[in-house]
């Protein structure tokens, strides 16, 4: 079972520290998206990377449409990786939808998690009454259309791409990697599980201390949503970043690293609102 989970979720363990730092990717990509921030933590932590079943290099044969029709199924992946590696006192770092997946995992097994670091979290993407999630249902339907059209015409999406990363010239063109590769049907279901989810009622159940990294001008998780999450999560810290967009760990890795390190150095300081870089 343990070995199966490690293979199933393409788990990679790096680093020289003892406290586990579990990085969970968001919708649309895989563990590769952490490559710009992970090196900053390998000296001090036991870094664990994985792909959700259906993403990246996970075992697509293990995909169960029913299990992964809700974020709860993805939270099971997180917990099973924790069980397989016997991880405790975990610092969970989740991007986007993985923030809520981490929330669900921490509610289910609070004793395993020391801290949740939530990058661009949103418990509900669709506007509803007084709650402003940022999107109308029709926006999400158009997103699904856009994804479908890209899958129709975009054979490259499924094929391994040759690395042409200008930031890492040491990686030769011979190194072929598959970024964000996924099965179109699985990607669509993941999108539906993500963007139609409503985890607002789960937030008050969390007892694990958390850091919310909120980007400026983030269309997917607007600042008002970050503030909502902060108010609903007990013992949470809201950090407003200068970084714009939804992927600060890719667009502004230095600022992201600094924000996480700064929080971790203050671990145990309790709930606070830290408005930085304004």
């Amino acid at each position: 079972m343990q070995r199966n989970v490690l293979k199933r979720n393409n788990v990679k363990v790096l680093g020289h520290g003892t406290q586990p730092m579990l990085f969970a990717h968001g919708f649309g990509c895989d563990q590769n998206m952490w490559r710009f921030v992970v090196p900053a933590f390998v000296d001090d932590y036991r870094v664990v990377l994985f792909d959700y079943v259906g993403s990246g290099h996970s075992d697509l044969g293990a995909y169960d449409a029913k299990r992964y029709s809700t974020l709860g199924g993805y939270a099971e992946d997180v917990l099973e990786v924790c069980h397989a590696l016997d991880l405790n006192d975990v610092i969970f770092v989740g991007h986007s939808v993985s923030s809520m997946i981490g929330v669900l995992a921490a509610i289910q097994e609070p004793a395993r998690f020391a801290h949740l670091i939530l990058v661009g979290p949103s418990p509900r993407y669709i506007n509803e009454a007084a709650y402003v999630g940022g999107f109308e249902r029709s926006d999400i339907e158009e997103l699904l259309d856009t994804m479908d059209k890209n899958y129709i015409g975009w054979a490259n999406f499924l094929a391994p791409a040759i690395m042409k990363n200008p930031d890492r010239p040491e990686l030769s063109a011979e190194l072929a990697e598959s970024f964000c590769s996924t099965d179109p049907a699985i990607a669509r279901r993941f999108a539906e599980a993500t963007f139609y989810a409503d985890n607002r009622a789960d937030l008050p159940k969390v007892r694990t201390p958390s850091l919310i990294l909120q980007c400026a001008d983030d269309i997917i998780a607007p600042t008002a949503v970050g503030e909502y999450v902060h108010h609903q999560l007990a013992d949470s810290t809201l950090h407003l970043m200068q970084a714009t967009g939804h992927c600060p760990h890719m667009s502004h890795p230095a600022e992201t690293i600094e924000a996480i390190k700064s929080y971790l150095s203050k671990v145990g300081a309790g709930a606070q609102v830290e408005v930085a870089n304004q």
Partner: protein
């Protein structure tokens, strides 16, 4: 920007690692009805529709950042001049520059192509919905129809056994008719379910092994014998010695043979002949089922293997859904074989089932 790039027949835009637009060509500005002042210095994603902004954040940007390039991404741009958005295909590549990375994007507008892609998408979704409806129907047939029809047959048996009192001859004849009709209905449902299973690739765990052709034929004849006798058909088996072996799943082979013999009997008039002949030919074993029925028009010989197709030379309707041959051919192919038909109008038809012989290398 030089004039060639500025007036190129495709949009061009470049933005930095933070997403801020550094330059844009006139072609793109015309596409979106914008001015250089309203685009340069603003985030690239601000040009996109909401759904494409999500796609940009979840796919476009991560891929561009990781791979250094992306190709053929479909996104839609907001157009200041009209309510219609502008669909484009984007190719983008990273370029190192002093002080960071610049992403250059070429955008090709989609007009007619977009209509067709919308149509493909609609058709794809309609097909998926139809497939779901089919699954629902199969499930309904499997449970909601088969169960009560089984109950009808069961209660007929009870009545015929006299559990509710002795039936007179007329009542008994009626109940027997009800029983036969229910069996017929069950047969139809089994055909549809079988076809659905084969079609959905759900015929798994085939136990493919060398078998005695004669033994399988004997078992099949036991099942079809009463019907042959009742129809007044002369049945003969030729050249099927014990030594003629065939590689197949025994249950599926029997299913195919039963179907071929049932068809032969169904389409052959009283007094006609049905002959089964075995033939070892190289690494294959052939079983021919020949009848002296009315035959099938030559141009219909392939159509009869399509689902829900029944062809009669006289145009007369026949019982059943026309699924048996479709199922049989698919099963034969799953067992590395095939099923074909030959026919002469007015003289009869021959169906030939070909399957591997035991020493065939194609036996998997």
């Amino acid at each position: 920007m030089d004039e060639l790039l500025d007036r190129a027949p495709c949009g061009f835009i470049s933005f930095g690692d933070d997403g801020t637009v550094r330059d844009v060509n006139s072609t793109l500005l015309e596409m979106i009805g914008g001015s250089r002042e309203t685009v340069v210095g603003r985030p690239f994603e601000a040009l996109l529709t909401i759904s494409s902004r999500i796609f940009y954040q979840t796919h476009f940007f991560p891929l561009l950042r990781l791979q250094g390039s992306v190709e053929e991404l479909f996104v839609t741009l907001r157009c200041a001049a009209s309510k219609e958005d502008v669909a484009v295909l984007v190719n983008a590549a990273a370029r190192k520059q002093e002080g960071g990375v610049i992403y250059d994007c070429a955008l090709m507008r989609l007009r007619e192509r977009r209509k067709w892609e919308d149509e493909i998408l609609r058709s794809k979704r309609a097909a998926e919905e139809a497939n779901q409806a089919k699954s629902g129907l199969i499930s309904m047939m499997s449970h909601d129809l088969r169960t009560p029809i089984g109950a009808i047959g069961g209660y007929c048996d009870l009545l015929m056994m006299g559990i509710r009192g002795q039936l007179n001859d007329a009542q008994l004849a009626d109940v027997e008719r009800i029983k036969k009709a229910s069996e017929y209905l069950l047969g139809l449902i089994e055909d549809v379910l079988n076809f659905a299973r084969v079609n959905a690739g759900q015929i798994e765990n085939l136990d493919i092994k060398p078998l005695s052709t004669a033994a399988i034929l004997t078992q099949t004849e036991t099942l079809i014998g009463p019907r042959i006798e009742q129809a007044g058909i002369n049945y003969r088996r030729e050249a099927c010695a014990e030594s003629v072996k065939i590689v197949a799943d025994p249950d599926r082979l029997q299913q195919i043979l039963l179907n071929l013999l049932t068809n032969a009997v169904k389409f052959t008039a009283t007094g006609g002949k049905v002959t089964v002949t075995c033939e070892a030919r190289g690494d294959r074993t052939l079983i021919h089922v020949a009848d002296t029925g009315r035959g099938i028009p030559e141009d219909q010989l392939e159509r009869i293997f399509e689902p829900f197709v029944q062809v009669n030379s006289d145009g007369a309707s026949k019982k059943g859904f026309g699924l048996g041959l479709a199922i049989s051919r698919e099963l034969a192919r799953r067992m590395n074989g095939d099923l074909k038909a030959e026919s002469t109008l007015g003289r009869g038809s021959t169906f030939t089932l070909t399957l591997p012989a035991p020493d065939s290398s194609s036996h998997k």
